[in-house]
């Protein structure tokens, strides 16, 4: 395999990882907790900028890359994994601030619009206040994590980064899976279905929703850090509202509330449907490519909402029998998840007297 193909492949795999982390975060907010968030990319941006500020060094007298040609409010240079943790904190903190203001007061469409507007305001501030994060030019020359420690460069480092991304994805999967199967996840789903009923059972709806929103925001921040750690640059053009639209499409196609479905959606939407048009012969202006991608995403979204609103891999149904409680239930769930993927069905395969799921 030629080096250029390997570079393309590693780029694609890192993008898969970044999108997985981001979409699992958004799925926790939107699919599990029912918080429509059309401004999710703001949290990814916060994480990306936080990672940059924690690796670029001071504005002057740092590594030299940043001096003179780009300006930003503040910067330092700290070792791995601190910049990633800073990105998680930035995404989570921003989600907490936004969530405290927006979540208690607005619901449904209004909430989604408010969050979209917040992300547009964030973009406007960063774009027009150059001294903050270098405006439209964005930040570049952002250091790669562990590059010095591993001593790798070129394609070798790229494959190392793919492995690092995969490891981070596994950790994120653990988090979202544990939340999903726990009583916390069940309560979030109950809140999604009926806030009034959940409240009547003594559930602190505000706190639960805010917690899910913060965790989702933190994962968004982490996804931004993983992305800029690889591409080494970040600018307002990277986080327009279209990016959130891609994430939302992933969740609609994959399956609301389904982490496995989101993984399938990530492979299908940004990778297959996003990359395929780049291999098509050029039609008219070069800008048509981006337009074709967005049109494709829009058509997919409409098609799935109309014909298969629960997505390719719908949210699991966890079922129990009296003889089988927690321990065995988990095993059968996993088997059935696989069965559903293979069958592509929403139906619930049942096991004699045990557990069924989808």
């Amino acid at each position: 395999m030629s080096v250029s193909v390997q570079f393309y492949l590693t780029l694609l795999l890192v993008y898969v990882g970044v999108n997985l982390i981001a979409c699992w975060g958004l799925n926790l907010q939107m699919g599990v907790a029912g918080i429509l968030n059309f401004g999710f990319v703001l949290f990814q941006a916060a994480g990306a900028y936080a990672y940059a500020l924690f690796t670029l060094g001071p504005v002057s007298g740092g590594a030299g890359l940043n001096a003179g040609y780009q300006v930003y409010l503040w910067g330092t240079q700290l070792p791995f994994p601190i910049p990633f943790l800073a990105a998680i904190a930035a995404g989570g903190l921003l989600a907490a601030l936004v969530g405290v203001v927006v979540l208690p007061r607005l619901r449904g469409d209004y909430q989604a619009v408010a969050l979209l507007v917040v992300s547009l305001i964030g973009g406007g501030i960063v774009l027009n206040n150059i001294s903050l994060l270098n405006g439209a030019s964005g930040l570049s020359g952002i250091p790669k994590p562990l590059a010095g420690v591993t001593g790798l460069s070129g394609i070798g480092y790229s494959w190392f980064y793919v492995a690092l991304t995969a490891l981070i994805c596994l950790m994120v999967w653990y988090v979202v899976h544990q939340i999903g199967v726990s009583p916390f996840g069940r309560t979030l789903r109950a809140i999604r279905e009926s806030e009034a009923a959940a409240r009547s059972l003594g559930k602190d709806v505000k706190r639960k929703r805010l917690t899910a929103f913060i965790v989702g925001g933190a994962l968004g921040g982490l996804s931004g850090a993983v992305l800029v750690g690889f591409i080494n640059a970040w600018a307002p053009a990277s986080w327009g509202y279209q990016e959130t639209f891609v994430f939302v499409t992933v969740i609609i196609i994959g399956g609301f509330g389904s982490n496995l479905g989101v993984a399938v959606g990530v492979i299908l939407v940004p990778i297959i449907f996003g990359e395929l048009p780049t291999f098509l012969p050029q039609l008219g202006q070069a800008s048509w490519l981006g337009a074709i991608q967005l049109i494709l995403y829009g058509a997919l979204t409409l098609g799935f909402l109309w014909f298969r609103p629960r997505g390719i891999v719908p949210e699991k149904r966890i079922s129990y029998s009296r003889s089988d409680l927690v321990g065995r239930g988990r095993q059968v769930e996993a088997n059935e998840m696989l069965a559903v993927v293979l069958a592509g069905e929403e139906g619930v395969p049942r096991h004699d007297g045990d557990v069924s799921g989808q």
Binding site: S182, F184, T187, R189, A190, E193, G202, D204, S319
Partner: protein
């Protein structure tokens, strides 16, 4: 103010003590309309109190005011002598009041069993860190809750539906599910808003049997109900409301012969 000290033959001993639930001069307006006006009543531990009256009388508003999903514009509500007025519904629920809704509010895309499992208070694994700690942390208490839910499903004759989506249930089954879910909370006071509406007659018998069993265990029940046979067999005391006010109290037979009640039902 019309004081409604609810008295019944079966619970006189309980009334020696303070009421478990008390409303003092409670009113609620929507714009210029008085949904309920100057309502006072006392409910004692272990009583089953029926709230009846024609449509629009304000019965469900009373339930919502007690449960905190509506706030009163005047008056105070007490549970065990502690004021509930102004508290959020979840706080009131944690203090021991569970409710069902006039329009069923099941968690449609959760199974019947999962609906019940949402209900227990202070579950392990219901917070973020408990969830991340994994099944080893919360699996034990979950198993207990599952067992309890299965017992309840068996008692209500809905075991076969345990793993069906709640949204696929019939209207009557959803009613029963809501009652079971409220019971799973382990409340001290249970507010039931038309619990038999749409429920199959055979199931109404099951529901009655279970509620009587709970009453015998000391649960206090306040129910809005239109099914008079059910009210007669269940309720120690009946309170009749019309146009946002209490117009009569007593046993069902006593209030039925009250001219004010007859007029309210005829006039609507």
């Amino acid at each position: 103010m019309m004081e409604m000290s609810v008295v019944s033959e079966g619970v006189r001993e309980a009334e020696v003590s303070a009421p478990i639930l008390e409303l003092r001069g409670v009113s609620r307006q929507f714009g210029g309309v008085h949904a309920v006006e100057d309502i006072s009543m006392s409910v004692y531990e272990g009583q089953v109190v029926g709230l009846i009256g024609p449509n629009g009388a304000g019965k469900s508003t009373i339930v919502s005011l007690i449960a905190g999903s509506l706030q009163s514009t005047d008056g105070k509500i007490f549970l065990d002598q502690k004021e509930l007025s102004g508290l959020a519904p979840d706080v009131i629920a944690r203090r021991g009041i569970a409710r069902t809704f006039q329009v069923s509010a099941e968690f449609s895309r959760l199974t019947v069993l999962q609906n019940l499992l949402v209900a227990p208070k202070e579950q392990k694994g219901e917070g973020l860190f408990g969830a991340l700690a994994g099944r080893r942390y919360w699996g034990g208490s979950e198993s207990q809750n599952i067992e309890r839910a299965f017992e309840l499903l068996t008692q209500f004759g809905m075991l076969a539906k345990a793993n069906d989506y709640a949204g696929s249930m019939s209207g009557g089954q959803r009613r029963l599910l809501e009652v079971m879910r409220a019971i799973m909370v382990g409340p001290r006071v249970l507010l039931l808003d038309e619990p038999t509406a749409g429920v199959h007659p055979n199931m109404i018998g099951e529901l009655r049997e279970q509620l009587v069993r709970l009453r015998n265990q000391g649960l206090t029940i306040l129910m809005v109900e239109h099914e008079m046979d059910f009210v007669r067999s269940m309720c120690d005391v009946v309170i009749v409301m019309a146009r946002g006010r209490v117009i009569a109290k007593g046993t069902l037979d006593e209030v039925r012969s009250d001219p004010k009640v007859m007029e309210a039902y005829v006039a609507g």
